[in-house]
């Protein structure tokens, strides 16, 4: 694209032709306030807070709707501009309830911020304000029209990104309001983004509201673990309560742009599930009994070694998981495949229908790191068996030990009756999981692992982008990160020479061992991740 030279308040910069004044001003280090403008939505130019002056033109122009032109001199700091913006602020607040102390948006509200920045501190409007009742509009959102400034972002998100006219502008003049059509509920699974982009407290998240003030949250960059898209998220957690209170979208133009789906948005509740597994346990005659990690891992190692000694490595089946990190996939392979020579190694896939919206697709592969598992070699080798065959072999008695790195419903692993028989037949059944499942209910050993929010690591999304997840919470109970469990088990089994103190160093090892990850480090991944080496086969040849 051609570059043009423009001046902002006397400062000359060179910008790409077609850039609007808000974006161009940013490059010049100048802030142009905006409510309705959002880089991911169509320009509507309705809020008028971005009015700028162009030298030589009598009328102010909307910064969002005006493109830079060669030689243009944009003035953002004149009295005329300040007056116009103050006027818009005054107008926006005349019917606004000014209920910041009880508004959930307080602390991250654009209207509040701009009022401090630009607005008059007193209103000259001395009439009764228009009021509206609060409304449930579906989409896990609550609508408070009193605070709405009619910026149209919600309408345009549904219309443009979801491609559905589920929320619209109704009526006109000062009686104009945002509403659903005929009182129907918003059903699209992108609607939660509205709570992120609503610049005021009009549309807030039912899930998050009143849980905490935004300034009480610690925000950590992470990646959504709920499908193979790998949407970038911000995990907002309350440090004192050691609790995640929300996930919000984090912009990554190569992955999810500005959006995440509602499954990912609410996809942290399992972390705090009361039914979580919290301590290692062994099945005995009187049900499950707690044991120490050391005891559990030593005994599991001993049993496994014994079975391999008696029946060979082909009597063991390892069922990995596409939910584990690249580091853990690498360790799964290093310990069981490379270290113990186990060939029956695979992980179950969890396909669901893909959900396609106009400009956003919720992917059908529900594992965040199936690609990473394949790249790292969590796959059967040397006529090793896949998931279903492994389970069948266990049911038939040729496989004596099954190690699950995640459980799930029986049918995830095969015909339920066969899986059931396999679980009953094997000599050794070990599971690492975060919550109970039909597998853990029959296992000899239950080892409590952790969720995406309790460990560091990386996922490789479906397009082959490696992105970091981060430990947000302190560990719950006596749970332990899988990368730690695998390393300890590996050492007890004599399958792993060294142990690394953190996933970053495991990743460094992985980058050496697996060509796809060659050259990548946590530093090069940065906040937005990086693609794997091009043209790398999904299954690394071991």
């Amino acid at each position: 694209m051609a570059q043009v030279k423009v001046k902002f308040d006397g400062r000359e910069i060179s910008v790409e032709k077609g850039t609007n004044l808000i974006e161009a001003a940013k490059l010049a280090g100048i802030f142009v306030p905006h409510f309705c403008y959002h880089p991911g939505l169509p320009v509507v130019g309705v809020c008028r807070i971005c009015l700028c002056e162009l030298e030589g033109r009598p009328k102010l122009v909307a910064g969002c709707a005006t493109s830079v032109e060669e030689g243009m001199h944009v003035i953002t700091r004149s009295k005329k501009v300040a007056d116009a913006r103050r006027a818009v602020m005054e107008f926006l607040l005349i019917h606004h309830p000014l209920d910041c102390p009880m508004c959930d948006k307080g602390g991250e509200c654009t209207l509040q911020d701009y009022t401090m920045l630009l607005g008059p501190s007193r209103s000259r409007f001395q009439f009764e304000k228009l009021t509206w009742p609060e409304e449930d509009v579906g989409g896990k959102l609550v609508l408070n029209k009193n605070r709405c400034i009619l910026c149209m972002r919600c309408v345009n998100l549904c219309k443009d990104v979801a491609g559905l006219d589920e929320i619209a502008v109704l009526n006109r003049g000062e009686q104009t309001f945002i509403g659903t059509v005929d009182g129907r509920m918003i059903e699209n699974e992108l609607a939660g983004n509205i709570a992120d982009i609503c610049p005021v407290g009009a549309l807030t998240s039912k899930d998050f509201r009143f849980k905490a003030r935004p300034w009480e949250l610690t925000n950590v960059s992470s990646v959504c673990p709920h499908c193979s898209k790998g949407c970038n998220i911000v995990v907002g957690f309350h440090a004192r309560r050691n609790e995640i209170l929300r996930n919000t979208a984090r912009t990554n133009m190569d992955v999810n742009q500005w959006w995440i789906c509602d499954r990912g948005r609410g996809g942290f509740h399992h972390v705090h599930d009361e039914k979580r597994l919290t301590a290692p346990a062994r099945r005995g005659d009187k049900g499950y009994q707690g044991v120490s990690w050391n005891e559990a891992l030593l005994e599991i190692s001993a049993s496994l070694r014994d079975i391999i000694l008696r029946h060979g490595a082909r009597a063991v089946g390892v069922l990995g998981s596409g939910t584990l990190t690249n580091e853990e996939q690498y360790l799964t392979r290093a310990v069981f495949r490379d270290g113990l020579g186990i060939t029956h190694i695979d992980f179950p896939r969890r396909p669901q229908p893909e959900v396609r919206y106009a400009k956003f697709t919720i992917e059908g592969d529900k594992d965040p790191n199936a690609r990473g598992a394949l790249l790292c070699g969590v796959a059967p080798v040397q006529s090793g068996l896949g998931v279903r065959d492994m389970v069948r072999a266990a049911a038939e008695g040729t496989i004596k030990a099954l190690l699950f790195l995640r459980g799930g419903p029986l049918d995830l692993f095969g015909e339920p009756a066969i899986v059931q028989r396999a679980l009953e037949n094997v000599e050794l059944l070990v599971i690492v999981d975060i919550a109970p499942s039909p597998i853990s209910e029959r296992a000899d050993w239950v080892l409590p692992g952790v969720t995406f929010a309790e460990k560091d690591g990386t996922f490789t999304n479906s397009q082959g982008r490696v992105q970091r997840i981060r430990k947000v919470l302190t560990l719950r109970g006596d749970t332990r990160e899988e990368w730690r469990i695998l390393q300890e088990l590996g050492q007890h089994l004599g399958a792993l020479k060294a142990r690394d103190p953190d996933p970053e160093r495991i990743f460094a090892r992985l980058a050496q061992a697996v060509p796809a990850f060659s050259g990548l480090t946590y530093t090069t991944l940065g906040e937005l991740g990086a693609p794997i080496a091009a043209a790398t086969a999904d299954v690394a040849v071991g």
């Binding site: 008028r48 009598p58 005054e90 000259r124 009619l150 006109r172 000062e174």
Partner: protein, 430 residues
């Protein structure tokens, strides 16, 4: 008979007094569609040039030169082009386009067709406001007649050019008379004005080059074709050419639509054509061109009614439809009624107009009710300043101007309301 305009020969309203003036038969008997035939013998560029030279300026209120507007339509594009006729006449005080639709719809159709031919459009839409049910029926019938006679449809008058004309009835919103609001409404959307640029001539209806013209503007076109641009340019003052339909209403003995040259004096219009004020009461003020134009005082009516003169006088010619108010009129109430209209008709899209219009209305009502304070008058003026020029379309300005006009021209009366804590004109007529 009035002197200054004695020699003027009406053309637009010439046959409107005849029985069945709205029918094709009567229209053709008086030379109807001859202009279309001769236009088709010229090139589109020649027609645009003709209209440019005539000096015809849009009769919808803004007074933009019609030929220039037509000239903005890009040539050599593959996209279809559209002609839109703005028959959404919603300006309080304006009722001239309605007359054309009801009494001489073929004149409008002929102008529409010539305009369409000039800009290279093969489809014209007539956007008529929902309240004009009667006129819409007449127009629909006229389109049918014209189609049957070969003036609308394929290969018009044996030429290679075809043009369909479709009427669309709006749902009744002032904002749909704003040209891009009209286009949005025609596309089946909310009548919310668009951001400009791009202008409709480049990106208009369905994203294609579009010209939106007022009914009266197009009604002038056949006459320009028939009589030549010199004839048209010779009527009225310089840069404000042509015959004009003045819609006179309010406190006059004979309200109505009068066809007179541009530049007629307002006094003459009121006293000669409107036959004065009932009871010979003095004129207190006149809204010269529809509700959005700032009021002028009774002592200012010796003024030429044309675009440039009224703009110089701090008001606007608008649609050229004066509303006369005598001394029984409360100017605060008149301002409030105007503000109430604009608050009701504000589309709600952009902040200053949506919020400001309601505020103006409240302030004016407060003063009219006798609850006003002097600072309310300052706030009122400041709110008008805050709206003007800061909105997407001109409705914001249209709402700000009259409120400011009333408050400035009749400041004393506003202050009297505030001081006496009541409307001093309440019961004045009793």
């Amino acid at each position: 008979m009035p002197t200054a305009t004695a020699t003027f020969e009406p053309v637009i309203t010439k046959t409107m007094h005849l029985e069945d003036s709205h029918t094709l038969g009567v229209y053709r008997k008086h030379g109807g569609y001859e202009a279309l035939a001769s236009a088709l013998e010229k090139t589109p560029d020649e027609i645009i040039d003709l209209v440019k030279r005539s000096g015809l300026r849009g009769r919808g209120g803004a007074g933009f030169p019609t030929g220039t507007k037509w000239g903005f339509v890009p040539k050599g594009t593959d996209k279809p082009k559209y002609m839109c006729v703005n028959a959404d006449e919603s300006e309080p005080g304006a009722f001239k386009d309605r007359l054309i639709c009801a009494k001489d719809p073929h004149q409008l159709l002929e102008g529409t067709l010539i305009g369409s031919y000039a800009i290279g459009a093969s489809r014209a839409y007539i956007y008529i406001r929902g309240e004009f049910a009667h006129e819409a029926r007449i127009l629909e019938r006229a389109i049918q007649e014209a189609r049957e006679a070969g003036f609308v449809g394929k290969n018009i008058l044996g030429s290679p050019w075809s043009c369909e004309v479709t009427m669309y009835v709006g749902a009744g919103a002032y904002i749909c008379g704003e040209e891009t609001g009209l286009i949005e409404s025609l596309e089946g959307k909310r009548g919310w004005p668009r951001l400009k640029p791009p202008f409709p001539a480049v990106v208009g209806l369905f994203g294609c080059p579009t010209v939106v013209n007022n009914v009266e503007t197009l009604a002038c076109v056949p006459h320009i074709v028939n009589r030549g641009w010199e004839w048209f340019a010779g009527i009225g003052p310089e840069r404000n050419a042509g015959p004009k339909l003045y819609g006179l209403s309010g406190h006059v003995n004979k309200p109505g639509v009068f066809e007179l040259p541009m530049g007629v004096s307002l006094r003459e219009l009121i006293y000669e054509y409107g036959e004065g004020v009932p009871g010979d009461r003095p004129v207190k003020g006149v809204i010269p061109g529809g509700a959005s134009c700032p009021v002028i005082r009774g002592d200012e009516i010796d003024i030429q009614m044309d675009f440039d003169t009224l703009t110089r006088a701090g008001s606007l010619f608008g649609t050229g439809t004066p509303i006369v108010m005598d001394d029984t009129t409360c100017m605060v109430r008149a301002a409030w009624i105007t503000a109430r209209f604009f608050a009701h008709e504000s589309c709600g899209q952009c902040t200053p107009c949506r919020e400001g219009c309601g505020w103006l209305q409240r302030l004016l009502w407060k003063i009219e009710e006798g609850r006003g304070e002097e600072k309310d008058l300052d706030t009122l003026l400041s709110v008008t300043d805050q709206i003007e020029g800061n909105t997407i379309c001109a409705l914001g300005d249209a709402a700000a101007w009259p409120a400011r006009g009333f408050a400035k021209k009749y400041r004393d009366e506003f202050l009297l309301h505030i001081r006496e804590k009541r409307c001093p004109l309440d019961g004045a007529l009793a």
